[in-house]
Symmetry: C3
Subunit: 345 residues, 3 copies
């Protein structure tokens, strides 16, 4: 179940250049490249002729030449040349996907191109903002994308999964507040006078307790940002504390595997390259702990034959709300994708 009328991250901007890159999103194969002018173009990676993989062909100017029989498609998906014949059948075209490059990532619209709407991008401006520095990566995870958004919306798991880096018992002991606003879900925990988790100590050298904020925001289809702050307890001063955003966008490859695009973007010690590298290493290690849990969970869900298996707790409220939003929007997309029945009488 996927929302089709939505933007998904297909790649980091610097992955896409004057070459052909294949990637699968919501079960569809895409071929991506930059035009000579530097714009990103995204087409279906199945030749309209005999379904060869266009990404194994050649980029010729701003067009893709299929590597099998040489049929050529421009960056709008229109066929511009068929070897050995002049007439081009109108159906000879491949699907073009709307694309936006923004905040360091390439965003692809998987639904009706006429509905593509830049205002539906999640607000991830901190990935690329003066005074902020982002470090991050992309992980392939063999689990449904909603298991990843569940994970990010309930940070009590940090206590149990990530005790070596960002978790400690303060999180689970602090009640969560949450609210739904339109297609967004907000979850927050403010932990007063609490010991800093190991990574916070390393990053900012806290010696005593801190006030710690986690402000989580879900934006459809599968974007979760976390505004994380830590200050010496009682002293609300950024100079003595830290603040970063953990910015996460999950792209479904198909129903059982996902790409996990992530950054940590911070507004302090921007010139400290060692710190940047250390944060990247520690967060990557942290996410790999999640991957192990999530891939085992995926396997146990797939093999489960019970009728109504999950029992929820209070901490699930945010994740449940986000799933409701996704289900509602995905069902609306599916209805619109149905052919309209001719009305009789």
């Amino acid at each position: 179940m996927f929302i089709k009328n939505a933007w998904y991250v297909a790649a980091w901007g610097n992955e896409i250049g004057r070459h052909l890159t294949q990637r699968w999103i919501t079960g569809e194969p895409l071929v991506m490249f930059r035009t000579e002018a530097g714009e990103v173009a995204v087409l279906e990676d199945r030749c309209a002729h005999r379904r060869a993989s266009l990404s194994k062909g050649n980029l010729v100017g701003d067009a893709v030449q299929c590597g099998y029989h040489g049929i050529t498609f421009d960056c709008s998906g229109k066929c511009t040349h068929i070897p050995g014949q002049d007439k081009i059948p109108p159906a000879m075209q491949v699907r073009r996907y709307p694309v936006i490059e923004k905040w360091k990532w390439i965003w692809v619209w998987m639904g009706d191109p006429d509905k593509a709407d830049e205002s539906l991008l999640p607000e991830f401006q901190y990935n690329d903002m003066p005074g902020w520095l982002a470090t991050g990566g992309c992980l392939k995870v063999d689990a449904n994308y909603q298991l990843l958004t569940d994970n990010l919306l309930d940070l009590t798991h940090e206590t149990y999964v990530h005790g070596k880096t960002i978790g400690n018992s303060a999180i689970v002991e602090t009640p969560m507040e949450y609210r739904v606003e339109g297609n967004e879900v907000h979850v927050q925990r403010i932990m007063r006078n609490t010991p800093p988790p190991p990574l916070f100590k390393k990053v900012r050298g806290f010696t005593g307790n801190i006030d710690r904020w986690q402000v989580i925001r879900f934006q459809m289809p599968a974007n979760v940002s976390i505004d994380a702050r830590g200050y010496p307890a009682g002293i609300d001063d950024l100079e003595q504390g830290m603040r970063w955003f953990s910015i996460n966008s999950i792209t479904p490859i198909d129903e059982r595997s996902s790409l996990y695009f992530w950054t940590i973007t911070r507004c302090f010690a921007l010139d400290d390259d060692n710190l940047t590298q250390m944060i990247n290493d520690q967060i990557l290690k942290t996410f790999l702990e999640d991957v192990e849990v999530l891939e085992a969970q995926q396997q146990l869900i797939e093999t489960d034959t019970r009728a109504n298996p999950d029992i929820s707790i209070r901490a699930d409220s945010g994740a449940i709300s986000a799933r409701r939003i996704v289900q509602r929007l995905a069902e609306a997309d599916a209805v619109q994708a149905q052919p309209v029945e001719a009305s009789v009488n």
Copy 2:
């Protein structure tokens, strides 16, 4: 097709300790551990909350703490703690499986716990009896468990598969006797004045012919013991001969893979460690010959599209009887597992 109301070997006793061990039986994931008192506990290895793998969590006292959000289950499967809330929903529990540790193995009851009945254990006392010494192991086999019991119930295959260790032409030339008693099948061959197979020569140094006994006993669901004896021909004297039991319990992982627990337990030369090692090596080699045959057979059965493929011979009688017993009991279990229909009128 599995008998659920039955005991299956889940592990050797010495595999289970103060740590969490995962194993799959009849398609269900189990987590196993020893309590502080040394008892073995077996729970479903799917957290009732979001189906994380409990075996990736922590053993805390006699309880399992899920490694994802920290929900804790005691060794009866009851939830004892939910982080961040006091109220525990009654449905928050995981299935507990009855378990018996006996004769060096851990036996798990996969059906209705109220029906768990120790008297249904197979009689495998020779695995752990004064005056006897057992050596053995466990093999994973990519074949249905009944292909393994078929194999053990028709030892004519020793002639063709195991000519280097325990087989020779005497077996296939000697008629088999068999009888069914309740849920047991007994098959036996007594070979008089026959050349010893290679392994018997190595073990006991026979120079001339022997009288050789094979007394096979099938006990449901998938247990086969073989009382094997060899004496110098005409001399029924253990001091000059050998006797051992080959004890085998097949545990279905699912419909197409199995765990094969096995021992050879003997009542002679108990102090001879080299002999113990040699027997273990030779029998393991022998069983790996079976594994190759059985895995190929499994593949050919799965790809077969013919309607009624198997043609039976006289030597199959024991295996066919055992399959009838399994089918009858498995169907009875399936009927009992159906929800009772409300009678109308």
Copy 3:
């Protein structure tokens, strides 16, 4: 979808000897061997008893002894021995497949043995003819067999896939002629005064332009020969030019994988072993380029959910005709294989 009443290449003749060889054709497992008289015999590779793999057993004289319980089948598939019993049930037999060894290859008839008809062999005599020398091999390809015959029937792909060996732009620029004759398809291109492709230069040292012929012939079920000729432009003289046949037979393993048997057989410089080796190397490299394209195409077809996906062009005419022939014959086979309904009244 397979034509069953047809000959498929199962092996090179020199692969089959006094040992048992397994191979799968149209989803069926075969065991092959030579009798003491040197004839090739082909049986179903599933023992009629318990479906063990006969190819893991032993060849005893002209019979196959199953490696599991020793039941023996002669080279007609008739059971000749059951260990431990004298009576042989009439159903205890395995299917025999008609076989012809011709033109260096072993041909097996996968349909009704009574319909086996040597005149339905493709005319591949150039593989084994005085004055001609064949070099070749066999590749496993993870793609449906018809993707391979499509490939061979539209050589415009040489321009794009094989520019380093046998392709150049002349092919795609020259119109193709084609005609259907019964169950055969003929496609040809005659390219006048055209630059030779790289491999032709290497093989024959052409310095100027050539006249190049490609005469393609499809014979059911999946045989394609290409009569390829090149002469100095305007000079129709074999002494100064080259001619070879590319002979190809595709054997479906199942619906998604195939064996690709191929030769290049030439009528010039027969004693030049270096040339033979060079041609073999270059053609193998060329076919491995096809394999990469075809395996990606197979994956994209399997994952495609669109209703009517392929758009055809003029160059597809030959391949489309060949597919129509295969479909017609396969459907006729399927109808004949149905049990006849009793006519009522």
